[in-house]
Symmetry: C2
DNA sequence: AACAATTAAATTGTATACAATACTATTTGA
DNA sequence: TCAAATAGTATTGTATACAATTTAATTGTT
């Protein structure tokens, strides 16, 4: 008796975002091919160029990635000469990620290449800003809902 | 002498999208936990509920995924009883993906659960539509730029 | 000081993604 | 017609993601 509204793929915001994310990933990956950086490696480098040195934990908070993803990624970056990983002497649990001289030297070259990519989007800064604001709002709402669900669960358990 | 504009993580549209995509993925994954469907498995089911049967190739075009991703994913869906995979008799190269009776039976239950999730976003249909339109525009632009680059390459080769 | 609780990374296991290659079936062109 | 080209799927190899567990170091408490 009760009609259920069909869920159509093309009407799902999640699918637009999922799909756009993969396309961006691919786009930057090929733009970064001369540097042999993958997209996740690239955003790790962006964070480090802003704030190095960082602990694995700090980098993880910035990128929303855990050690299960970051540890192997950082080992690959180390192997390719972008970073060094060294245990903190004041707290042996922590691993500090430092930039190498090569990473510092190549920074502006990467900045320049990516800066060009941004303009290729053909969007004004205002348009990009507006889109980003919406996306952040969606993210925050998802966090909020997840948080409430978690509390509901806890309440139910008691 | 020439100043290079720094590339700041928080100003990158790609990072907003990447980050929102992961969050959506996680959000739906937990909403779908009762059905033991991952997010990519779920969108495959959405496409199949709309149009089954589909060949692997057709499904790949719909989801923008290739056989390297879909073959193992579909094998897992088959193992869990959602789909069957059978070689087409008219063209033995093709593998047709059919829904099982269980998949058809559970469709509305999934539709209902996901329909509820949409409302949790607290956005109007207009807002969601506007955001999706922007995202599609970004995707198209990325495709366009990639296409031009490809042509440039070919021209350069000649 | 002793020891439980906590924290930080690494590891393990599962599931995407995707480039590149392989394999088979079909189609096409000389 | 039959060999070359093409098409559809599967496989291999590399790189994320992330939950869950493990290990080691630090902190808090008594």
């Amino acid at each position: 008796m009760s009609e259920v509204t069909p869920v159509l793929l093309d009407e799902q915001l999640c699918f637009s975002i999922y799909s756009a994310s993969k396309k961006f990933n691919h786009f930057y990956q090929s733009a970064l091919a001369p540097f042999k950086l993958t997209y996740p490696q690239y955003i790790a480098m962006l964070a480090l160029w802003e704030d190095a040195p960082l602990t694995v934990h700090q980098l993880g908070q910035r990128l929303e990635l855990d050690s299960g993803t970051l540890t192997p990624l950082l080992k690959r970056l180390e192997k390719q000469g972008w970073v060094t990983r060294m245990r903190s002497r004041t707290d042996e649990r922590q691993v500090m990620i430092h930039l190498t001289a090569m990473a510092t030297a190549k920074r502006d070259e990467v900045y320049q290449r990516i800066g060009q990519c941004q303009t290729l989007l053909g969007m004004s800064d205002q348009e990009i800003q507006a889109l980003m604001t919406d996306l952040v709002a969606v993210k925050n709402q998802l966090d909020e809902v997840s948080r409430q669900r978690l509390i509901d669960k806890k309440v139910n358990v008691q």
